[in-house]
């Protein structure tokens, strides 16, 4: 027995070393990810589609240049859409062959994409949201797209559309969609308690108190640390006329507006009238539709998922009756990796031009596949009917869209500082102290790195 135990002890000791493997192993596995067969990908919660145009095309496949496209569109409608058009593209020509891999959002932005670049297994075409785009643009791993962005195409986009994807005057990404944030509420619950949808912070606090019960929280906002928490926090600063960064791009985190917004969130959580453990990301509207909360911060992507007869939408409550509301516009941008050879880059450009610069494809994607806006006038015009199809869509189109500012594109370290500030204010210290601490850290970081931010 003793010898068995001793042998096992040795194994135990070697287990100590495994912590050091975390990175190495993860990177090794992620590196293998690209070559995983479709069946295995599905098991891992991903879906890879090799859309082929019949057996003849398959025979020719060997001669074609393979283009790999990664994204995070894992909803059924999104995958169907991609399957349809990737197949159409593959059938439309015989020079390139595209395969796509849809990876669940959290895995995509964390373990999947960065490790693929680290192990020289980067996809030819990929997508980034403002939360991660700076890392890729600053690293110089993206190909400029100026040659495919013709003047005619450019003039269709709004002026600010390329702000987040431009470096040194060159455009590196195609803005695909624009997701907005607002306040959803359960009509029946509010009616029962005689509560009007809140339009100010004070009304929000009062409404949460009236609606809160043992089983159903009055209000749900993101309490877990992360990108989504930061994303939904920004508009509470902006709606007071404030910013998290000054005009010259330096930290402004201990400004009155930031402290006020932190204080509001802290008051709401401390009141006991809000959802302390939503149990999943608050970007999931099911918290409201399952009856777990009476009001929830959520986005335009849920317009088609929340029955407008049961659930209403209002802009995020304003700081006071005299000030307006604000919202944030996030969304994904299509980028091309410059890590492949010239042929692959040319193929990737050909594919994204065909797929994502085509007005009809983008319109269908933003209205029928999912509900989101686009920074292209022609797309908004073409989707008019959908954007006015019910009360909630109208609220987003007529009241929220105009107040939205682009999501702040922060570096990893800067995002961590903002995230810690919000967590500190919610749980560890008073709002002012959390803001002061974050301001100090951000200034130090900006001094060391020279990074500047807008928003």
């Amino acid at each position: 027995m003793k010898s068995i135990v001793r042998n096992n002890l040795k194994k135990g000791l070697s287990g100590c070393l495994t912590v050091a493997l975390l990175l190495g192993v993860s990177m090794g596995l992620a590196g293998c990810g690209k070559d995983v067969p479709a069946e295995d990908s599905k098991e891992a919660g991903t879906k890879e589609e090799s859309a082929q145009g019949g057996s003849e095309k398959a025979e020719e496949k060997g001669e074609r240049v393979e283009i790999v496209y990664w994204n995070q569109w894992t909803q059924e409608t999104e995958i169907n859409f991609l399957e349809k058009y990737v197949e159409e593209y593959n059938n439309s020509q015989d020079k390139y062959h595209v395969t796509f891999l849809a990876v669940p959002f959290e895995e995509y932005t964390t373990t999947k994409l960065a490790t693929a670049f680290a192990t020289n297994e980067a996809p030819d075409v990929f997508e980034c949201s403002p939360a991660i785009i700076n890392q890729y643009l600053d690293a110089g791993v993206c190909e400029p797209l100026d040659d495919i962005m013709t003047d005619q195409v450019r003039s269709d986009f709004t002026e600010a559309a390329f702000d987040r994807v431009t470096r040194d005057g060159k455009i590196y990404g195609i803005p695909l969609d624009s997701d907005l944030v607002a306040l959803y509420y359960n009509k029946e619950m509010l009616e029962e308690k005689g509560v009007q949808p809140p339009s100010t912070w004070e009304e929000l606090k009062e409404a949460a108190a009236k609606l809160n019960t043992e089983n159903c929280s009055g209000f749900t906002f993101e309490v877990d640390k992360g990108d989504w928490q930061c994303f939904t926090f920004y508009p509470f600063v902006w709606m007071q006329g404030g910013n998290l960064f000054t005009e010259d791009g330096m930290a402004n985190l201990n400004s009155e507006e930031v402290v006020n917004a932190l204080q509001l969130w802290k008051d709401l959580l401390d009141s006991g009238n809000c959802n302390e453990t939503p149990g999943r990301s608050v970007s999931d509207i099911s918290i409201l539709t399952n009856g777990e909360t009476a009001m929830q911060i959520n986005g335009s992507w849920s317009v088609l998922r929340a029955d407008p007869d049961k659930y209403g939408v209002v802009p995020l409550p304003a700081a006071s009756p005299d000030t307006g509301s604000a919202s944030v516009a996030g969304g994904w941008n299509v980028l091309i990796s410059n890590q492949g050879d010239e042929e692959k880059i040319a193929g990737a450009k050909d594919f994204v031009s065909w797929m994502w610069l085509d007005k009809n494809h983008v319109s269908e994607f933003n209205t029928e596949v999912k509900f989101s806006y686009c920074m292209r006038d022609s797309v908004i015009e073409a989707g008019k009917e959908v954007y006015q199809s019910n009360d909630n869509a109208i609220t987003f189109s007529d009241k929220v869209l105009q107040t939205a500012k682009p999501e702040i594109a922060l570096s990893g370290e800067a995002k961590e500082i903002v995230s810690i500030m919000i967590q500190d204010a919610l749980y560890n210290m008073d709002a002012k102290a959390a803001a002061d601490l974050a301001q100090e850290s951000m200034l130090q970081y900006q001094k060391d790195s020279g990074a500047k931010f807008t928003g």
Binding site: M1, G12, V19, A20, G24, E214, E416, Y427
Partner: protein, 294 residues
């Protein structure tokens, strides 16, 4: 005859080599090479996208001043204390209980029942327990309010979240350790107990004077393997709390994950991963010395 013997020995050696080779190869690929690679990366500033830039030991110097790292070590330590002590006591108690059950079938049923949670993956268990711990609609809170007690925040409370996370780990693992204890208990000769009984020793005395000393090797094995596992806790934290509320459950491995995969600071994350391994090795050696294991 001599040649035959020699040939047999060679065959035996070859068989041994073939049997060990796959494990050695896998360990080499998945353990030793990544360890060396992690040590190497820890000397660089690297965001996985750009070329590595050599910074020497400056990542290690930075780590010494990093309050988040120190805090994560403290939280990991707290977690280890809860996890190791609970698993040791519960698995030993369960083993003694199962061992005392009369009847082979009844003993088997009980053993399977206690072992069953170990067949559930930690991610699934964590998701399940997150529902149970829900501050509004969780069954645990429903039971508490039914019993006239106050609703608890559990995962939303800074003082309770770490315990909740530990409960999941304990629930999954203690059945496995119970089986190991049980096999050790079965090795203790029955004569010793009979002799002690004749000498008038009661059940408690028999446990502390006979059982515990005779299963010391197994105890040390359980203590060390659970300690190693406690320092590697990640799944439950990722699923249940994301390191929160505040930093209440931000254990070191979760901090490493955030540094590497959310902030893209792979060099610095490797530095902390290497340091954590060293800390863990040190703690294990101290533990072995203290427990006087030979």
């Amino acid at each position: 005859m001599g040649k035959k013997k020699q040939g047999g020995k060679r065959r035996e050696t070859m068989t041994a080599v073939f049997m060990i080779a796959p494990e050695i190869l896998l360990m080499l690929v998945f353990i030793f090479i990544p360890i060396v690679h992690a040590c190497y990366i820890s000397l660089f500033d690297w965001n996985a996208l750009r070329a590595k830039s050599f910074v020497g030991i400056s990542n290690y110097m930075k780590m010494l001043k990093d309050s988040t790292f120190k805090n994560s070590i403290l939280i990991t330590g707290k977690y280890a204390v809860i996890y190791v002590s609970a698993i040791y006591v519960l698995s030993l108690a369960a083993a003694v209980f199962v061992n005392s059950i009369k009847g082979k079938k009844r003993q088997q049923v009980c053993r399977v029942g206690i072992y069953l949670p170990n067949t559930v993956s930690t991610i699934v268990a964590a998701t399940l327990w997150a529902f149970l711990f829900n501050s509004r609609n969780g069954y645990i809170n429903k039971l508490l309010t039914e019993a006239g007690l106050k609703r608890q925040l559990f995962l939303g409370s800074q003082s309770q979240a770490l315990v909740c996370v530990a409960i999941v780990g304990i629930w999954v693992v203690f059945g496995y350790d119970m089986i190991i204890f049980l096999s050790a208990l079965k090795d203790v000769p029955g004569d010793y107990y009979e002799a002690a009984k004749i000498d008038g020793a009661n059940a408690v005395q028999r446990f502390f004077r006979i059982t515990l000393p005779l299963i010391k090797g197994t105890s040390i094995f359980i203590l060390i393997t659970t300690l190693v596992a406690s320092f590697q806790v990640f799944d439950q934290v990722r699923v249940m709390t994301a390191g929160g509320p505040g930093k209440a459950t931000e254990v070191t491995v979760y901090y490493i994950f955030q540094l590497a995969f959310e902030q893209y600071r792979f060099g610095y994350a490797s530095t902390i991963a290497v340091s954590l391994s060293l800390i863990l090795m040190l703690v294990t050696i101290v533990q072995l010395k203290l427990l006087k294991f030979k």
